[in-house]
Amino acid sequence: MQITPLNQLRGQHLEATLGEACIFSNVNFNLENGQLLQVLGPNGAGKTSLLRLICGLLPPTQGQVLWGDAPIESQREIYHQEMTFIGHKAGMRETLSAVENLQMDCALTGGNSEAAIESALQQLGLLQAATILVRQLSAGQRRRLALCRLLLGTAVLWVLDEPFSNLDKDASTLLHGFIEQHVQQGGMVILTCHHDLDFPHLPIEYLRLE
């Protein structure tokens, strides 16, 4: 996975409102290659909205998110090429099988390699469930399928919304390893998580939302 030289993601006094209430305001952060950012905050502090805002799914009422030195709205295709977002919902088509879903993901992000899909499914232990419809998969398996997408693309920035939720023991250690490997190779990860993470030799930044 080749890492493009110096990327930088900055958020400048971001503010988001949902309906009448202003969820958070004046949030700043700065993320460079090889760094991990954990967003902390009680329930309802707007962690998910912040992540959606960073990906460009939720337009900010104030402030802007900069990728490199230009706001993300002006370089959508480039930014989305460099980024993968995994939200609460798995985002998989119910009536397609796991393999077809991943092939569709390759079509969406432009990459297309059968081998990568095979290895991703194999690494996450979904190989034997590859041809069953997603409708018949368990919640944990759907979570694993969503995480397969991380291995497929060549994205530098991973934006993960509570990736460890309803994952069993070895799946979380697997994910733990992927994140560690990705950050050490110069990737960037933003994630929200309820239990505190132990990445002994990784620089973690914390962003607290009240």
Partner: protein, 251 residues
């Protein structure tokens, strides 16, 4: 021009300017309306074909014209809102929609009433009346979407886009209805077109049109003040304003 837009763009300032404009415009609109109404009813000679019945035009034509004018003004403020993100433009749109709906209803009602003495039926499928009916449904659709979306942020943008879609479709609907009318109605002269009127009949018509447009501006100002209070209900300056009003009211 830029500071001007942004200075007036902030709801706090616009609340007071809207009040001033209302007081300033109320009088002229009242006198124009009086000119139109009284002139149309009393001083204008009766029409050769339709006798006295044609006086309904002084209500029907201006309100239909106003309904169309309000929709195009909503489209202009939708462009202003989407391009320059000025919140007052969004409030202008959702303030003027009910007024437009009311006046297109009035145009339909008076058009139907006019049909009874002239052609013996309450409703005639004339080209202008039908496009007025469709405009009325456009207004109702807009108000329905406006009230269905609870999130103000998204609601404004979605309604602005709906207005723009509507304004692009209006000429298409208008001309296809006219084409459809000539197909079915045959070449009868449609009396609802503004009949060729000699000058003495026309001045009340212009009086009514100007009066109604001024009236629309006054009412839009009032409704914008309500919109600002509804949206900025929690902000500091609204509470001070209300506290001061409460104090004066208690005095």
């Amino acid at each position: 021009m830029w500071q001007f837009l942004h200075k007036y763009g902030s709801p706090k300032i616009f609340y007071f300017t809207a009040g001033r404009w209302f007081r300033w415009l109320a009088l002229p609109s009242l006198c124009f309306l009086l000119i139109g109404l009284v002139g149309g009813l009393a001083f204008v000679p009766e029409d050769y074909y339709q006798g006295e019945g044609f006086r309904i035009i002084y209500i029907h034509a201006p309100s239909a014209f106003l309904a169309m004018g309000i929709y195009s003004m909503m489209a202009i403020s939708a462009v202003i809102f989407l391009v320059w993100r000025i919140k007052v433009a969004a409030m202008w749109i959702c303030a003027s929609a009910p007024i437009g709906a009311w006046f297109s209803f009035l145009a339909l009602f008076t058009g139907a009433i006019w049909g009874k003495p002239m052609w013996g039926t309450w409703w005639i499928w004339d080209a202008r009346l039908t496009s007025a009916l469709i405009l009325f449904f456009l207004y109702l659709g807009f108000i329905a979407l406006q009230s269905a979306i609870t999130d103000r942020q998204v609601g404004d943008k979605a309604s602005a886009i709906l207005v723009l879609i509507g304004v692009v479709n209006l000429p298409i609907i208008h001309y296809s209805v006219i084409w459809w009318n000539t197909l079915h109605q045959g070449p009868t002269i449609s009396r609802l077109q503004k009949p060729a009127m000699d000058p003495s009949m026309v001045y009340p018509l212009y009086g009514m049109i100007i009066g109604l447009f001024l009236f629309y501006f006054c009412i839009a100002m009032l409704r914008i003040r309500c919109e600002i209070l509804k949206r900025e209900g929690r902000s500091r300056w609204v509470e001070d304003l209300v506290r001061e009003k409460m104090a004066r009211y208690r005095l």
